[in-house]
Amino acid sequence: MEELIEILEGIDPDHDYENSKDLIDAHKLSSLSIISLVAELEEEFDVTIPATQIVPENFNSADAMLAMIRRLEEADA
């Protein structure tokens, strides 16, 4: 989780990623941030995030992002 929060703060330091549950719904993360984020997550966690996973439910909170990464890791296994 710490790794993820660090990545998020590196992209846009303006938000409280540990508690936010509406990063997408409240338009806190822009589409540019999402593109950047996906590139970094793929590198850091060695997963492929397809466009189908770019839905608000997967990016509204750090927890949701981590859950998506775990799911993709399992599917790869």
Binding site: S31, L32, A39
Partner: protein, 531 residues
């Protein structure tokens, strides 16, 4: 849909449908809705039924082919041994699904392309051939466009994409698919719905409830007020100035631009109120298509608040699939190392945005002004992203509080101005006309035509202005209330009976007495129905 059809829709079709729907047993209500959709097609243009039936059959056939490929994959995976074999099965399935999807796009977008754009491209290619001296002339054919074909096609394609991505399962019930595609709440002017949001609800045939009837009814009335009291009132003035712009000075053009932006919003969002309100009467919750767009602080934000379902379609089915494609992902990764996390993704985002805005422009119509409308927004959004870090630094340097009220108002006014310019390009009779109008607006600034009675001669007298100002002010207050998280209809429903009924009467009187119809007014056909 013409203005006449709209009157029949709200005045006869909708009440009759509520009655029949209410009297019909629940298990048949879905079929009633399907018949109603086709009935409406028939009322507008009989040929539309043929189009609707054929394209529904095609969408259904393609969806079942995809379902079969997915079923085949699951069966093979169960019997497969080892990781490599499973991977090969998945890759094979992906390839097959892509092939089917390519066929679907070719068929459905291809048909849309032929009907909507072949004349435009044919004419312009011929012009190019003439200018360059190539002795070829292509035959140009003009087709009558089935109403709402663009909305219909986007919904159909989104449904098939979602099956390919395994977001939804291919529905075996052809009635449900047909109803999803032909529901009046989608094909007139959108909102472009997703299968998982509306298909089940539509087919289920929810019981009619007094509360939904009351709230939905009020929303329909509000929509009619927006269209008949405001949008229609300005129509003659707007169409005259936009058509004969050379005869008008800068002030009149600026006024026509502002009134057109208001007209378009009132017409389109009014139609959404009618459609979303009508759907809610039947227990179907359609997604909102507008969220107080004129309070946007940037053009990017504006497009998350205006025609939301179209923006969402392009985001989910064009922008992200492109930026997440292998070549653009590699570009992002490399660029990020060199340029950091802001400018790094900007290159792939800009490429994808360019495609999105060409499509968005063309979706609105086959004409250079629509392409220019798309490019105008593309340039503004790209410049906005490019200079975001710089402008942030400048604002901080000047000691301006970014969250402060003054700066917010500045951003809202700036965005509103840019939106107005965009709508001028959109409404102009051609791209050259748009440029000339913008030029006149800034160079021929004179108020004489405004003062000499030209303004009132074009169908707007001072009573019209006063009435419009009062009604628009009420809508503005309601928008501020919504922006703060409230729901004006909720607020009204919690008032005393006398207040509620007074509000209903005001809405009805506005429509009946103050609606802009008859002598001196030219009713506007729902503007977005032709896109």
């Amino acid at each position: 849909m013409t203005s006449h059809n709209f009157v029949v829709f709200v005045g006869a079709f909708l009440p009759a449908l509520v009655l029949i729907y209410g009297l019909c047993p629940q298990k048949h209500r879905g079929k009633i809705m399907l018949l109603a959709g086709y009935g409406l097609y028939f009322m507008i243009d009989g040929k539309l039924i043929v189009y609707a039936v054929l394209s529904t059959l095609s969408v259904y056939g393609i969806s079942q082919a995809m379902a079969y490929v997915l079923w085949q994959r699951d069966t093979e995976l169960m019997e497969a041994d080892g990781k490599a074999e499973k991977k090969a099965i998945r890759a094979k399935t992906k390839k097959k699904l892509r092939l089917i999807m390519a066929f679907a796009i070719l068929l459905h977008i291809g048909l849309l392309f032929v009907l909507k754009y072949s004349a435009f491209f044919g004419e312009n290619l011929n012009r190019l051939f003439r200018v360059t001296g190539v002795g070829v002339s292509l035959p140009v054919k003009y087709f009558a466009l089935p109403l709402g074909i663009s909305f219909y096609t986007l919904q159909a394609v989104a449904y098939l994409f979602d099956i390919q991505r395994e977001k939804v399962k291919a529905d075996r019930n052809i009635g449900r698919v047909a109803l999803f595609l032909s529901f009046f709440g989608s094909f007139i002017e959108g909102p472009i719905s997703r299968y998982e949001d509306t298909a089940e609800d539509l087919w289920a045939g929810h019981p009619l409830e007094f509360e939904s009837l009351r709230r939905g009814g009020v929303r329909v009335l509000i929509g009619i007020v927006k269209r008949y009291v405001i949008a229609n009132r300005f129509n003659m003035f707007i169409s005259t100035v936009f058509t004969s712009y050379a005869a008008f000075d800068g002030v009149m053009i600026a006024l026509a631009m502002l009134l057109f932006t208001i007209q378009l919003y009132m017409d389109f969002s009014g139609m959404m109120d009618v459609v979303i309100g009508a759907a809610s009467i039947f227990g179907v919750k359609l997604k909102e298509n507008f969220r107080q767009p004129f309070f946007s602080k940037s053009i990017t934000e504006f497009w998350t608040r205006w025609h939301i379902s179209l923006g969402a379609f392009f985001r989910d089915y064009v922008f992200y699939p492109l930026t997440m494609s292998k070549p653009l992902k590699n570009l992002t990764t490399k660029a990020r190392r060199l340029l950091g996390s802001h400018y790094g993704p900007l290159m792939s985002a800009t490429l994808a945005l360019f495609v999105v805005w060409v499509l968005n422009g063309l979706w609105h119509g086959a004409g250079f002004q629509y392409l220019a409308f798309g490019m105008f927004h593309f340039v503004l959004i790209t410049l906005g992203s490019l200079f975001a870090p710089l402008s942030r630094k400048a604002v901080d340097h000047l000691g301006i509080v970014r969250e402060g009220r003054l700066y917010s108002v500045f951003c809202v006014v700036r965005t509103f101005f840019l939106v107005n310019i965009g709508e001028l390009i959109f409404r102009a009779i051609g791209f050259r006309a748009a440029l000339s109008m913008i030029k006149r607006m800034f160079t021929q600034f004179s108020t004489t035509r405004f003062a000499d009675g030209t303004f009132t001669a074009l169908g707007i007298d001072y009573y019209d202005l006063l009435l419009s100002a009062v009604v628009l002010f009420v809508f503005f207050i309601a928008s501020v209330y919504k922006e703060r998280g409230g729901d004006p209809i909720d607020w009204l429903m919690q008032r005393r009976t006398s207040v509620r009924f007074a509000a209903y009467y005001v809405l009805i009187i506005l429509i009946v007495v103050f609606g802009a119809y008859g002598y001196g007014y030219v009713a506007v056909d729902p503007i977005y129905a032709n896109f």
